[in-house]
């Protein structure tokens, strides 16, 4: 039975993973693009970082510092598997 990774399947995290699958992105750009509040995005990012799907990189110091995010190899594999499963489920549904 195909199962979608629940950590990725949550709508906000899926959008984050999708954006990060195409680019390394800075926190405020990610926030602006997804329309999330800073605390909400931080919470989602923490879960993805803790799962080993996303890697954070800080640049600069003090108030001008920024955090950049990108998918780890594990995260990229999990995301690709997620998409493959999603497509399989949809193909299965349209075939039956």
């Amino acid at each position: 039975m195909d199962e979608l990774d629940p950590l990725i399947h949550a709508p906000k995290r899926l959008r984050i993973m999708t954006v990060l699958s195409t680019a390394e992105v800075e926190f405020s750009r990610l926030q602006e693009r997804l329309g999330l509040s800073a605390p909400d995005l931080s919470k989602q990012m923490r879960q993805l970082v803790d799962a080993g799907y996303v890697e954070a990189r800080k640049t600069g110091k003090g108030p001008g510092s920024t955090t950049w995010y990108k998918l780890t190899r594990q995260g990229r594999r999990a995301y690709d598997d997620y998409l493959a499963t999603l497509r399989r489920l949809l193909d299965g549904a349209s075939a039956s």
Binding site: R15, T18, T22, A23, V25, A93
Partner: protein, 158 residues
């Protein structure tokens, strides 16, 4: 099942948006010009005969190129991957690199084999013209194609 279909549609829109939306539009207009100047400077340093001056000039142009790259990345707030870029856009980028690299190779070959006085000054000027023309054409083609893709995907309205 409709939920899953909507999920997949959202995924496809989000993937596309990296390439047709914000990051590219935030890159300043003088970016191509800056790279053309820095690259031309790098090429001209090849003709400097005083060793220490050549080294200083090379370091300065390397720093300038690094600074330009840093500014553009900071402004864009994203470093998009070429691998996941939609193929119509990837073809334009690959075309740019192929034309630019071939042009640079021809210019360098000419500079190293010609009898013209100050060949690397001329080579720098040719490089500048090459990057400005090819870079500007690529920019226009890219933006036009990106806009068309955005309209097709419903991200932007025509």
């Amino acid at each position: 099942m409709e939920d899953l279909e909507r999920t997949l549609q959202q995924v496809e829109r989000d993937r596309l948006e990296t390439y047709v939306g914000g990051p590219w539009q935030r890159i300043p207009w003088w970016y191509t010009l800056g790279f053309a100047v820095a690259g031309a400077g790098a090429m001209m340093t090849l003709g400097i005969e005083t060793k220490w001056l050549g080294v200083v000039a090379a370091v300065v142009t390397a720093l300038l190129i690094g600074a330009l790259a840093g500014v553009s990345v900071r402004k864009a707030g994203a470093v998009p991957r070429l691998r996941t870029m939609p193929s119509p856009l990837r073809r334009i980028m690959v075309g740019y690199w192929v034309v630019a690299m071939a042009g640079i190779a021809v210019i360098l070959l000419w500079a190293f084999t010609t009898d013209t006085a100050r060949p690397f000054v001329w080579a720098g000027a040719m490089y500048f013209a090459l990057v400005v023309v090819v870079g500007s054409v690529t920019d226009v083609l890219f933006r036009r194609r990106a806009r068309r893709l955005a309209i097709e995907a419903g991200i932007e309205h025509g």
